[in-house]
């Protein structure tokens, strides 16, 4: 497996997974219907979110890995920086959201 392309594909998929998990988490707290809909798939909304995170990560990894012929050092380096930023931002957004939710109700 092409080392650089696997790093690039994994980092890109990780960014998309973090975005997806953060969006679904906030949306499910704002909409009880959506949360129940998620729970309907596995019996628990968090289990469904876990499956979604794995599926999104795997699908996008395969997509990027198969669609890119080659990746440059620069592209990979930038993507690792983007992943770090999104991981930290995702952490802050989720934590801040639940702090806000607690104090606003």
């Amino acid at each position: 497996m092409d080392k650089l392309k696997s790093i690039y594909s994994s980092a890109y998929s990780a960014v998309i997974t973090i975005l997806t998990v953060t969006a679904i988490t906030v949306a499910a707290e704002l909409s009880a219907e959506f949360k129940n809909w998620l729970a309907g798939f596995s019996g628990h909304h968090w289990v469904t979110k876990s499956y979604i995170s794995l599926i999104v990560f795997a699908l996008f990894f395969v997509f990027f890995f198969s669609s890119k012929k080659s990746v440059s050092d620069d592209e990979t380096r930038k993507l690792l920086a983007v992943l770090q930023v999104f991981a930290v931002l995702g952490f802050i957004v989720v934590l801040a959201f639940y702090i806000y939710e607690f104090f606003s109700h």
């Binding site: 080392k3 968090w46 990560f57 050092d73 380096r77 920086a81 639940y98």
Partner: protein
């Protein structure tokens, strides 16, 4: 055997143990990368142990969370002196953890590069940052877990 493994204290112990194993492995790999150590095999072992540790803590913790936490622990915390421990710490913990596996997989792929390749591709800084985030996520989630456990204890006192 399965009956013992799925009892509440054992599940909590395994959840914590696998998390510590994962955090330690990523810190070990961080040391390898910072020291520009030459062994790719050692890097891959450290990254593999970190990834497996995080995956196992996810599975064991998830089983405990779905099977016991919501029914037995959550009501105690919500009725106790620190209901925020569930509303903020538990809710954040369970969702932020979902970031950890994609990051750990990316670290595993990066661990296949030796010190010279990391340097020539300019990826050493990126791997160092990701390792700090992976270990930091684990430690902050561990702190939230401590808060949740303490809140459950206060809830019944």
């Amino acid at each position: 055997m399965f009956e013992i493994l799925t009892t509440k204290p054992v599940l909590i112990g395994l959840h914590l143990g696998f998390a510590i194993l994962g955090i330690d492995a990523f810190l070990w790999l961080l040391g390898e990368v910072v020291a520009k150590a030459g062994s790719v095999r050692r890097r891959q072992v450290a990254a593999g142990v970190g990834l497996v540790g995080y995956a196992l803590t996810w599975i064991v913790g998830g089983y405990y969370y779905v099977k016991f936490y919501g029914v037995l622990v959550k009501p105690v915390i919500k009725a106790g002196s620190a209901p925020w421990a569930h509303a903020i710490a538990m809710e954040s913990k369970e969702h932020i953890f979902l970031f950890a596996i994609p990051i750990a997989v990316t670290i595993y792929f990066l661990s296949r590069l030796d010190a010279n390749e990391l340097e020539s591709h300019g990826l050493r800084k990126g791997l160092t940052g990701l390792l700090l985030i992976a270990a930091g996520l684990g430690l902050s989630i561990g702190l939230m877990g401590f808060i949740i456990s303490a809140a459950a204890r206060w809830g019944v006192i």
